[in-house]
């Protein structure tokens, strides 16, 4: 019973060091940002939040270091617990409590699946250590192996926010303070991906091909659903949370393709796909962390989270606007920055995968590439909306008007994340080979020759050409083409000076997408005219929102069924003592009858 305490407690290999780097890259800037973010809070609150933050980061580190299932499980639950406390930190309003409860219950269901899988493995391996599990994995009968895969996948997918189990993510992340949600979506959901890589790629060998296909399919669904919901959401942090779902989908595309091709023996493509997945993992951690920090500083300055009420912040908060722009360019995969490199590598992986294979597999690869392309386009659209409506044109509310730039610590926090976003993009030549080495070690193939020559040369080339021409044009404009500039009102067809009410709003911006995807979003419109008399309309009211399909057709009926079942069971205790005594007699008689028969 307690005698199974594991021998090898820690394990260091290239995958753990890689994830250490990811944690370090995100947590340090977020911690610095939190100093600025918490400046006005009471000392007690500051202490609590820093202690919890430290515990959260430590538990994540230990999850990665742990060399056996037992400590993996302990620190995995500790990670969920500390992040629950961080989500519920400002417990004033009801929303964060509800978010915390949904988050904890969903992660608990995930962990329950993990526990079940770990104990089945423990049965076969005899001990909790990874090495024992690795040896036992060969002898596992296929049916047990598939059950373990499904359980582990559900467990890790719930934590990573893969689509059917993603509903906690748009609740939990926005409620947490932004330096926490940047770590949560930057690093915590990656720990779930770490789990997937550790178990499906390194421990439960030989992994059949259909595992990769399942992960790929779920990746595609997560990509598309995440970005469509992000387009429809106008709460800045919720929008970023949905984007985490989308980017996790992209990472899973890479991981799925890697497992799929490794199983089919096409090692170079598998190594490239895994390298693309890991590279996108780091990139997403960087620009998502940056975006959440920017949304935090916007929240600190304006006290608003709804982008419909913001606007014109670029003039009052230039630094935050610049950092947000860098983050937005990163996430929409625009060339010189890091998002482009990793998405581009994923495309190359799919393309070379398609070339290598025949028939249905080729079409499957091409369809997933198409899905990735559509996601990329929609993500760019979403961030045009997010950046444009939040920062550009005129402020739409009084609080947006009085916004002031945030403190120095916050800016350093954001800068510390913005610079790596650029470095990882332009400097791909130095970073891609390192990640390739990690992906080779993960797949256990040392001799896979993957030419990253193009991946390292091209970003630099693009950056040089674009910046060069831009500089040339700028100089040409500045010196040899001196024409005047006049500052005047925006073109208003000659009526009157436009004000912030005529600007394009986020709802209008995303209206074409709402109509295009209406089969999935099921939009709801309600317009109402309040009339003083037949001719004079005093007020016109228009309301529209989209229905969250997964919540409405799967989770709510489930919860309603459980509650109605519980209310029926509640009738078992109506209060009459006679019935209680009858229960005792019936159990007694029943058991005696059973004992007599068997």
């Amino acid at each position: 019973m307690i005698t199974f305490l594991p021998k090898e407690f820690f394990l260091f290999d290239s995958l753990t060091i890689f994830f250490f780097a990811v944690i370090g890259l995100i947590c340090i800037p977020s911690a610095i940002f939190s100093i600025g973010y918490l400046r006005e809070e009471a000392l007690k609150k500051k202490l609590i939040s820093w202690v919890l933050l430290a515990a959260f980061i430590l538990s994540m580190c230990f999850v990665i270091i742990s060399g056996n299932l037992f400590s993996f499980l302990i620190f995995w639950e500790l990670m969920s617990l500390t992040s629950y406390f961080l989500v519920v930190l400002d417990y004033k309003h009801e929303k964060s409590i509800r978010a915390g409860t949904i988050y904890l219950v969903m992660t608990h269901i995930g962990t329950a699946c993990l526990m079940a899988a770990f104990f089945i493995l423990y049965n076969y391996a005899g001990s909790f250590d990874y090495s024992a599990v690795k040896e036992a994995a060969f002898a596992l009968p296929p049916s047990i192996r598939n059950i373990i895969f499904l359980l582990l996948f559900i467990g890790f997918a719930t934590k990573a926010g893969v689509v059917p189990m993603h509903i906690w993510l748009p609740y939990a992340h926005p409620q947490a303070p932004s330096y926490v949600s940047s770590i949560m979506s930057g690093v915590m959901i990656k720990i779930a991906v770490y789990g997937m890589i550790r178990f499906f790629v390194m421990l439960l060998l030989p992994a059949p091909a259909w595992w990769g296909a399942v992960i790929l399919v779920f990746g595609i669904i997560s990509c598309l659903v995440g970005v469509i919901y992000a387009l429809m959401d106008h709460d800045l942090k919720k929008l970023l949370a949905y984007h985490s779902v989308e980017n996790i989908g992209i990472i899973l595309l890479g991981v799925g393709a890697a497992i799929f091709f490794a199983a089919r023996g096409v090692i170079p493509v598998a190594a490239l796909a895994m390298c693309a997945a890991l590279y996108h993992l780091v990139n997403h951690a960087l620009f998502k962390g940056l975006l959440f920090l920017c949304s935090g500083s916007v929240y600190k300055a304006t006290g608003l989270r709804d982008i419909e009420k913001m606007g014109g912040l670029i003039k009052t908060m230039p630094a935050t606007a610049l950092f947000f722009l860098i983050g937005a360019m990163g996430i929409s995969a625009l060339p010189p920055l890091n998002g482009f490199v990793s998405e581009w590598l994923t495309f190359q992986a799919f393309f070379s995968g398609a070339v290598e294979s025949q028939g249905a597999v080729r079409i499957f690869m091409i369809v997933s590439a198409a899905a990735l392309a559509l996601t990329g386009g929609l993500a760019a659209a979403c961030f045009v909306k997010a950046f444009g409506i939040t920062f550009l044109a005129l402020p739409r509310s009084a609080r947006a008007r009085e916004a002031k730039e945030t403190g120095f610590m916050m800016k350093t926090g954001m800068a510390l994340l913005a610079v790596p976003v650029v470095i990882f993009g332009v400097g791909a030549g130095f970073i891609a080979p390192v990640i390739l080495r990690v992906s080779r070690a993960v797949l256990g193939v040392q001799n896979a020759e993957v030419s990253l020559y193009l991946a390292s040369v091209l970003p630099v080339l693009i950056a040089v050409v674009v910046l060069g021409t831009a500089l040339a044009v700028f100089l040409w404009f500045r010196f040899c083409l001196r024409t005047g500039q006049v500052r005047y009102n925006t073109w208003d067809c000659g009526y009157y000076a436009l004000d912030s009410r005529t600007e394009y709003t986020a709802t209008a911006f995303s209206k074409p997408f709402r109509i295009a995807f209406s089969f999935f979003l099921l939009p709801y419109h309600k317009s109402e005219k309040i009339r003083d008399s037949f001719y004079h309309v005093s007020k016109f009211m228009y309301e529209t929102h989209t229905t969250l399909v997964f919540r409405k057709f799967f989770y709510e009926p489930l919860v309603r069924f459980v509650y109605s079942f519980a209310w029926k069971v509640r009738k078992l205790q109506p209060g009459s003592i006679h019935l209680y005594i009858l229960y005792i007699f019936i159990t007694l008689a029943g058991l005696i009858a059973l004992a007599a028969i068997f």
Partner: protein
């Protein structure tokens, strides 16, 4: 290595200068078919020259993005042109697809900043234009990428069914990207129909000139891709300028004919238009997987 770079730079300059002529030709053919005289083929050059010399009127609410956008769009299209020229189909099979996709990404960089600039001025025209532009391009990307995949997989040397199908899908994407009639009307200022025009409504003077040049070059980039798709054999040596410009001319005239014969579609019908092109691209990929 050095001389290939010099050759590419030379070609980039040549094609950059040659690009406005193509749209001039297209406009000229449209007018002649409509039995009208219309402006001369060199009209785009005159426009650009005029705009470079005029003063600029900039909106009060505009931020630095309003200045930076035209420069980035122009630089982006130049870089896309360079990339397309680098990606010679045929012998570098796996890399040419990657470079073409990188070209698409660079074009989306320009589009991203142009959409932001549209929103920056704070007028509803700009917002409408950027929302529609981004909407159309995000649906065009999957079809374009699949078409490029299939075309490069086929190894653009010999005449293949999958190549032609991919070319046809790419042709429909080009119509959407270069804002030709069925998807978007270049010449109108009617807010109901304009997409690309709406975004650049606020611009004037030299930044408008830069944007015009950038759209011409972008059109040239797409026409070059199309020419490799539809006339694969022509790509081999002796690589005469005449043969190449003939192909571009044919594509331009075909584009003009389509512009004349088709009425503009409703915005949300473009989704069906682009998904139709996507399915053609998918059909091309099925054809290529069958080895056609």
């Amino acid at each position: 290595m050095l001389n290939t770079i010099m050759v590419i730079i030379g070609k980039v300059f040549a094609l950059a200068i040659f690009a406005p002529l193509v749209s001039g030709i297209i406009r000229k053919t449209k007018n002649t078919i409509r039995m009208r005289n219309g402006p001369s083929v060199l009209q785009p050059y005159y426009n650009v020259r005029k705009l470079f010399l005029k003063d600029e009127v900039i909106s009060k609410n505009a931020s630095w993005i309003f200045y930076a956008a035209p420069v980035i769009v122009f630089a982006g299209s130049i870089c896309a042109l360079a990339l397309v020229l680098m990606a010679r189909p045929g012998h570098l099979v796996s890399n040419s697809a990657a470079i073409l996709i990188a070209a698409f990404f660079v074009l989306s960089l320009g589009r991203f900043f142009m959409a932001l600039a549209g929103l920056d001025a704070g007028s509803s025209f700009g917002g409408m234009g950027s929302s529609r532009e981004v909407f159309i391009s995000s649906f065009a990307e999957p079809a374009a990428f699949v078409a490029v995949f299939v075309f490069c997989m086929g190894g653009g040397d010999s005449f293949r069914v999958s190549g032609v199908l991919a070319g046809f899908a790419l042709f429909m994407v080009v119509i959407a990207e270069t804002s030709r009639i069925p998807v978007d009307n270049q010449e109108t200022h009617l807010e109901l129909t304009m997409v690309h025009e709406a975004m650049v409504l606020e611009y004037s003077g030299r930044s408008l000139a830069l944007i015009e040049l950038a759209s011409h070059i972008k059109q040239m980039v797409f026409f070059i891709m199309l020419s490799w798709c539809l006339f694969p054999a022509a790509g081999t040596a002796p690589w005469g300028w005449a043969v190449f410009s003939a192909e571009i001319g044919v594509i331009g005239i075909a584009m003009a004919f389509i512009e004349i014969s088709v009425a503009k579609m409703r915005l949300f019908r473009t989704v069906d238009f682009l998904s139709f092109s996507f399915f053609i691209a998918l059909a091309a990929s099925i054809a290529s997987s069958l080895g056609l």
